[in-house]
Every structure is written in structure tokens, then in C-alpha cells.
């Protein structure tokens, strides 16, 4: 009698423990939402931001002074001798890459009258931190311009868990404003 009661109790306990274990394992093992993806191609981005106008293609050659300043803004070496952009009536659009944590984030930035008109993530390759692409976050950049110290003049609220991606977007936004200023002051050079 005693043994049966004891066994029943033990079986019940084991049943509960196994259920709790399975529940924990299931919760821990649930796949994390992936943030990876290419959301828009470069040509589509340019077509969208300049519609219904047809933008013209420009090339900014990175001479030593531009490169030096660009490297200060990014805090790393800048690769490539030239940067392409599209423009129309004082408005320029740039597609730039910057590493978030480990992978490059492709970011489209539109500058109008030396202020940011819009920022958009075109491709996000990290597995986490993709919240930066949400329109609510991107809207913070609208109207930002460059200070004398080549920083954005608006404070941008961070996102928990996406700090590095936020920094990357901030740097690219500042860099696009700087490139824009160079294009406006020095007439666009073409080959």
C-alpha cells in the first residue's frame, strides 16, 4: 500500500518535472526571429526616392582630404576611390555600407537641401538588431543636418540589442551628409 502510494506520488512528480523540462526546452529552443534580408535593390531605391523625376548619376571621387574626413566620420579605413550617387534638383541619394557587428548593412540615405530627407535599410545581414529598419526608428533622422564636428545635429534614440547597428546608421547618415556637402560645394565630377 505504502509502496503504491509512494510510486504514484513519484510518477506524478516525474510527470510534472518532465512537463516543466519540456516546456523550458521548447521555450529555449524556439527559433529566434531572423532579421536578415535584402529589402530593396539600389535601382529601385533611387527610382522610389526621385519619382516621378528621373535622377542623374553622379560620381564623387574620394581625394585625400575627403577620404581623411570620411575616415574620421566612420572611424575606419574607407575602401574604394569613388562613390556613386543619384541627384536631381539639390537632392542627392546615396547607398553606403557599414558594418554593424560583423556584417555590412546597406543603407540608403536621401539628402535634400543639406538635411536628411530619409534613411532606409536596403539590406541587413546580421541575425540580430534588425529593428533599426523600422520606419518609426528611421523617422528620427528626418531633418538632421551635420554639425561643425561632422556629427548629426539631432539626438537619435538607441535601440536595446541593436546598439552597433544604430551606431552604423548614425555614421552612414553623417557620412552621406558630408558627401552631399562635397558634391554641392564641388560640382559633380564625371568621367
Amino acid at each position: 500500500m505504502f509502496n503504491r502510494l509512494y510510486r504514484n506520488r513519484l510518477n506524478s512528480l516525474i510527470g510534472k518535472v518532465v512537463f516543466a523540462g519540456l516546456l523550458t526546452t521548447t521555450l529555449l529552443a524556439s527559433p529566434q526571429l531572423s532579421a536578415k534580408g535584402v529589402y530593396q535593390s539600389g535601382p529601385d531605391f533611387f527610382a522610389e526616392v526621385f519619382a516621378p523625376q528621373q535622377p542623374e548619376a553622379g560620381v564623387l571621387w574620394l581625394n585625400s582630404s575627403i577620404r581623411q574626413q570620411a575616415e574620421k566620420i566612420l572611424g575606419r579605413k574607407v575602401l574604394g576611390l569613388r562613390v556613386r550617387y543619384q541627384y536631381s534638383a539639390g537632392k542627392t541619394a546615396w547607398i553606403l555600407n557599414e558594418i554593424g557587428k560583423e556584417m555590412p548593412i546597406t543603407i540608403g540615405v536621401v539628402i535634400d537641401q543639406s538635411k536628411i530627407a530619409s534613411v532606409k535599410i536596403l539590406a541587413y545581414r546580421e541575425s540580430r538588431g534588425g529593428e533599426v529598419r523600422y520606419p518609426a526608428y528611421m523617422a528620427q533622422y528626418q531633418g538632421a543636418s551635420l554639425t561643425d564636428r561632422y556629427k548629426l545635429d539631432q539626438s537619435i534614440d538607441g535601440i536595446t540589442g541593436a546598439t552597433l547597428s544604430v551606431w552604423a546608421v548614425n555614421k552612414v547618415a553623417a557620412l552621406a551628409l558630408y558627401y552631399h556637402s562635397q558634391v554641392i560645394t564641388q560640382p559633380e565630377s564625371t568621367e
Binding site: 513519484l10 518532465v18 523540462g21 526546452t25 535593390s41 539600389g42 535601382p43 574604394g80 576611390l81 546597406t106
Partner: protein
Amino acid sequence: MKSHNSSKTNIIWHRRLGLSVFLVLIFLAISGIALNHSPALKLNKTDLSNSWLLSWYGLEKPAINGFKLQDKWLYHNGNNLLFIDNQAVAPCAAPLRSGAKNSQSIFALCADTLVILTEKGELLESFSQLDGLPANVEAVAAVDDGLYLLTDSAVLAFDPNSLALTAIAKTPADLSQSLNLMVPVPESLKQQLEDAGPSISLETLILDLHSGRFFGQYGVLFMDIIGLLVCILSITGLWAWLNRLRQIKQ
């Protein structure tokens, strides 16, 4: 009496479980802390290229092949870098699929990106699928001063200044003679790449050990079981504590 026996059994099992998992738990705690501070500990920057480890991960030192472009060798180190004659010139995702040179520039087709370099090997820019490079480009060919991108069924004339692509009335077979063939690079260049090739970061290794993936499916299953045992351990511990409280009250 019944309660006392049950409590005793519970404590025995608690001890057994604790003894079974404590080493793994200590490892999981230390590796978890290390992973949490990976950037500070530079775990992701520490590359391991031990041959046993590489073979465990199914990686092999790549055969270094490249393209002889007139007097220059264009090749890839198997580790995301493009080289011209011993100089790392640009990032280049593996595999390096094609290479060509005209009078002004050097072109390298790296996975899905066309890398454009000056004649001296300075990176001009990278033209990727996101910028409008067709997805099915298989090779790049320079004929006289014209530059062509070859897909499986079509040939596109490519203007490296404007990045414009124009379909032309030729087939890939027409230009097959103009393609540079991939050949093994000379030993002298290969020697310089001894340190290159695949590697595993210390962060990856610790993460794979932490999750059990290092030992394949059975490793993951093992870690799952450890997870379950830890849950049971917590419950038996809690139960033992409650029993003791009850006994004290009685």
C-alpha cells in the same frame, strides 16, 4: 514516516543529479560569461587554424588558383581577400570566379560582386547585385577595349565608368576564347599565403561547445538533457528545502 522517506529519496536524487551535472554546469557558466563578453575578450578576433580543428569543421586549406592577367597575377586567399601579386587589394567573397584586364582597369568577379580596380590594383568600387549586377553573371571578359559580362545564355556589354549594361548580339560561346582560365598560382606567391586560408574564431568554438553543436546532433541532445536535468535539480532542491521547512515547523 512516508514524508520522511520521500524527502530522503528526493535528497538522494538531488545529490546524484548535482554530482552528474556539476562539471558541465561549471563549463556552461564560464563559457556563457566568456560569450557575453566576447568583444572585450576579443574572442571573435582570435582565429584558430589548427589543422585538426579545421578538419573537424570540414574545412580544408584551399588550392590557390588565380588568373594571369598579362604581367599580373590575380588570385584569392580563400579568406575573403583579393590579391594582386602579393598585395591584398580588396575584400572579395569566395569564390573568385573570373578575372579580366583592359588598358585601364582590372576586374574580378567575386561570388556575386564585380570588383573594379585600377591598373595599379587600387580599389575603384564594387558593383554588386544590390547595385544592379545581374544575378546570373558567370564571367567577365575583356576584348580589345570592350568589357563584357557573360551569363549562361547572354552577353552584356559593360561600361565600367557608368556601370551601364547593354545586351549585345553575341553568345557566351563567341567570347569563350577571350576568357582568362583559372590556373594554379606560382609557388612563390602561394608561399606568402601560408597564414591565410580558413580559420575558426575562438568565439565560434566556444559557442559551439556551449550549445553542444561542436559534437553534432548528439552534442545538442546532450545539452538538452543537461538543461532538463538542471530543471529537475532546481525542483528537487526546492522540494528538499520545503520539506526541511515543514520538518522544522513540526
